[in-house]
Every structure is written in C-alpha cells, then in structure tokens.
Amino acid sequence: MIEEDRPTWWDHVKAHSGTEADRRNQYRFLAWTFLWAVVFLAATLLLRNGIEAPWSWAVAIVPIVLAIGPLASYVRFLRQADELIRMIQLEALAFGFAAGVVFATGYQLLERAGAPVIATGDTVVAMMVGFLVGQLMAIRRYR
C-alpha cells in the first residue's frame, strides 16, 4: 500500500527551507540580513542628520562592508542546498535579475514618455519583487 503523503500548501511554503542543514543556513542568512538592515538604517539616519567627514565616510562604508555577511551566507546556503531548493532559488534569482533589468531599462523609456522620475535605487525593489514572484512560481512548478 503506497502511503499517501502528498504535501499540503503549507508544506510547499516550508519547501523553501528544505533539509535541516538548509534551514540552519537560511537562519544564518536571515540573521546577517537583519543585522545589515539595522546597520543600513542607522547609517542612513546618521547621514541624514548631517554627520560630517571623515565620519560620514566611515558611516557610509560600514554597511557596504557588512553586506559581505548576507552575501557570503547566501552563497553558502546555495552551495550546500538540497538540489531542488537550489533549482528553485536559481530560477527565482534569474527571474529577479530579469525583473530588475527590464524595470531599469523599461522605466527609462517611460520616464522619457512622461512618467514620474524615480530613484535608481527603486530597481532593487523590482528585483526583490521579481525574486519573490520567481520563488512562488518555481515552488508551484515543482510541487
């Protein structure tokens, strides 16, 4: 008798986490990302409040250097990940990258056509949204 253990939707959500090792690596990545975000926010506030050189340079550089943490932990997660999880992540990265490129190049044309001017940093938002959408699509495909 074949055991019926087709995963539920919640299992698919948990599919992000993969094996126990994957979960550990993801927690490590999230912890680094949280730390980086806090430092980035603090640096932004300090620079907005008119901190002066040379301290302004130091404040600006700290989050840039600290970004090595999330980057390295994500690469480690990807290298050690369960192969299906890795496939899902790679498809999501490709989708996110494409979304960023399409947004950055496409919005330039829209701006020339009369759309409101936006900050170049908004491309990051498009990449993140693309990454999340890509993840959901890949999870759905392999469920």
């Binding site: 995963p7 698919h12 993969g18 994957d22 192969e83 299906l84 496939m87």
Partner: protein, 64 residues
Amino acid sequence: MKNRLRVLRAERAWSQAVLAERLEVSRQTVNAIETGRYDPSLPLAFKIAELFGATIEAIFEPDR
C-alpha cells in the same frame, strides 16, 4: 522523465520522509521526482539506484 520511485518506495513501505532522509534530500525533492516534475541530478540518480540495488535505467526512463 518517468520513474519507478513511488513503486520501489511502496515495496519497502517507506514514506517520502524516510526515503528523503536516506537520500539526504528534502521530502519535496522526493515528491517532485516521483511526480515527474523534477529530474534528479546524476549523483542523486546514482544514489537512488544504489539505495534500491538497481541500475539507473531500471528506475528512470526517458520520455519518448
């Protein structure tokens, strides 16, 4: 790619979780392979074949 993974697993009365643990992959990977939505890497295919004491060709069959 078609495969006999579900049948082989059932013959041993293993759950997907047990098979996943033996193969050191996630249960989602086992499920995706069984349903034919994901083709395993060559190292994983060899691992599956070794676990069931069969050849890769005896477990996996290309779509024609």
